[in-house]
């Protein structure tokens, strides 16, 4: 019988080799879609462990990135068995790195952790113009809009984007994240929350839906 607790632990410990061995044995037996879905769920719980250890200072950003890599590879292995089962969506997040900033590491970590927590994430990439946020927000109607940036110049773009979103009547919650965001910046920008910690950011989003 498959030990789901062990799978969660292996993800949490970032033990890629052992995890892939366990998954290889599991897929040899041609599992059902429901069985495969329980393994995905166990992996997602492992991502929660990674996020908690990051918040406690035991893990670092590199561990979050590698955790995302493990989850992506796990889902690749399991995909042929997953079928079209309905997975529960926690909520929808529109996400992008704001105009003028070309960085995407923080954005991608947040996306990976948000998806692992059950959010559907619409990612509009880096250097995303104000109008791209507005247009996509009208199209996908997200509960939450996440803006990311590494440089302080991103703060101006976040402020302008927030202003444009509000002017367009979009009332999604707005969270900003990245190296330069602070309480003062958050208030100045008019966002609902800020974070420099992706795991914490996901928890804030979970509190909103």
């Amino acid at each position: 019988m498959l030990d789901l607790k062990r799978i969660t632990e292996l993800v949490g410990e970032l033990e890629e080799e052992q995890l892939l061995e366990v998954l290889a044995d599991f897929t040899k037996a041609s599992p059902s879609a429901d069985e495969a879905a329980t393994v995905v769920q166990a992996c997602q719980e492992g991502m929660t462990i990674i996020g908690d250890r990051f918040s406690e200072g035991e893990y670092f950003i590199g561990d979050l990135v590698f955790g995302g890599e493990l989850l992506t590879n796990t889902i690749k292995v399991l995909k042929p068995f997953l079928g079209e089962s309905d997975s529960t969506i926690s909520g929808k997040i529109l996400l992008g790195t704001v105009a003028g900033d070309l960085h995407d590491i923080g954005k991608n970590i947040f996306r990976g952790m948000a998806e692992a927590a059950g959010f559907e994430v619409v990612d509009i990439g880096i250097d995303a113009p104000i109008q791209a946020f507005v247009d996509m927000a009208k199209e996908v109607e997200p509960q939450i809009i996440g803006m990311s940036g590494v440089l302080t110049l991103a703060l101006d773009a976040m402020k302008d984007t927030t202003k444009a979103l509000k002017a367009a009547g979009i009332d999604s919650k707005i969270i900003i994240g990245g190296n330069p965001v602070t309480q003062e910046a958050c208030e100045d920008i008019g966002a609902d929350a800020f974070t420099t910690n992706a795991a914490q950011g996901v928890k804030i989003c979970q509190g909103w839906v």
């Binding site: 590199g62 302080t152 101006d156």
Partner: protein
């Protein structure tokens, strides 16, 4: 000796005392101003990089409006005209700042470590450069050499212009510019120029031995000889200026395996010969202080960004001069008086005993990195208050 020459020597002596962990007359104030100077002037990166007088006017305005004893950079810190002439690379200057676009620097494949380890120089020249720069991707060998020679003329002009700027700061302002060259730690070279962030992290987890061996090979066969060639003799006003990116993102046990041995070797090699270092310990290094305590004493000016400087001073004051004190966030969002209060607290806590240099927590790049009035007020206060009695 002219007035400016005396001022120059006096300021340099102030910094040297701090870096050598001796007691000076005052807390030195150091500038990490880069592209912020262009916004402050105001001008643009595009205009300043083609007009040396304008470049000097912008950078010298920023470093004379506020008081500084020493500065890191005399002007624009990347040879953009040279890089553009190569047909592009990993840097973008479209945003009025110089950024590496994530994803563009994953140029090397994970299975290529053995080739890199065997001969880093050959690997860079024969494998990496053609992938990275358009001028090496077509034409005969002779045509490629011709294009390279043309590009190198831009690089030589950039170096010549840096010399002109440094000399103008010295003779017109009495202001030492301390960055001689900016060598990469090998782990950061892999991160920034070969494997990008995700690739490097995956390699550290999956093939730590090869990552560490590559770092050591790059250090021994490439970075050390290149540094010796670029800066033949150490002097008190020429620092090896390093910006360390990777360590704050990895655990201590990974750092110890993959980054630390080659980094330590690089530092020890040049410290033994009397060179000095200005090192930006980017983000937070609190999980790595035990390692830094092994670095040679009295030759490192260590800038700390997110660490608690009081703790850094307690942990590392026997090894290195601690630099920092005011954040770009404070300089942007707080009032001049509130910034002064922050600076006073830092000086009271960290300056006693010497071995401290006041500076911003980050290189000033964008226009939001400082409110000028706050920067002027803070530096004026520190210059007056930071006196050793």
């Amino acid at each position: 000796m002219s007035d400016k020459s005396q001022i120059y020597q006096h300021r340099l002596e102030r910094l040297t005392n701090a870096v050598e962990l001796k007691h000076g007359d005052r807390v030195p104030i150091h500038s990490l101003i880069d592209n912020w100077a262009l916004f402050n002037y105001p001008t643009t990166l595009k205009d300043a990089r083609t007009n040396l007088d304008l470049e000097y006017a912008a950078y010298s305005k920023a470093t004379t409006e506020a008081y500084f004893d020493t500065i890191s950079f005399p002007g624009i810190t990347m040879p953009l005209n040279f890089m553009n002439s190569l047909g592009g690379g990993i840097y973008s200057d479209e945003m009025e700042t110089i950024q590496i676009e994530t994803g563009l620097s994953e140029i090397m494949l994970p299975e290529e470590y053995p080739k890199l380890i065997a001969n880093p120089r050959s690997f860079f020249v024969n494998e990496i450069l053609p992938r990275k720069h358009k001028i090496f991707q077509s034409g005969t060998m002779e045509e490629k050499y011709q294009k390279l020679a043309h590009s190198l003329s831009f690089l030589f002009k950039y170096f010549h212009d840096r010399g002109v700027l440094v000399d103008r700061f010295k003779t017109e302002q009495g202001l030492p510019v301390i960055e001689a060259i900016a060598p990469f730690a090998a782990g950061d070279l892999l991160l920034d120029s070969l494997r990008d962030f995700s690739g490097s992290i995956n390699d550290i987890k999956r093939k730590p031995k090869e990552f560490a061996e590559a770092c050591m090979a790059i250090t021994e066969q490439f970075t050390i000889p290149t540094t010796f060639a670029a800066l033949v003799q150490p002097t008190n006003d020429k620092y090896l200026h390093m910006f360390l990116h990777l360590p704050p993102f990895i655990r201590a046990k990974d750092f110890e395996k993959v980054y630390w041995p080659s980094f330590k070797k690089y530092i020890e090699t040049f410290a033994q010969k009397g060179y000095k270092f200005a090192i930006l310990f980017e983000k937070n290094w609190s999980h790595l202080y035990d390692y830094l305590q092994e670095l040679p004493a009295g030759c490192i000016l260590g800038f700390f960004e997110e660490d608690d400087l009081k703790v850094v001073k307690a942990k590392l004051s026997k090894n290195m001069c601690i630099a920092g004190g005011i954040s770009t966030n404070d300089l942007t969002y707080k009032s001049p008086q509130e910034c002064i209060d922050v600076a006073k607290k830092i000086i009271d806590e960290v300056a006693p005993g010497g071995g401290f240099v006041f500076s911003t927590d980050k290189v000033l790049l964008g226009k939001n990195d400082a409110n000028k009035e706050c920067l002027i007020a803070v530096n004026e206060f520190v210059h007056e208050y930071g006196v050793y009695k």
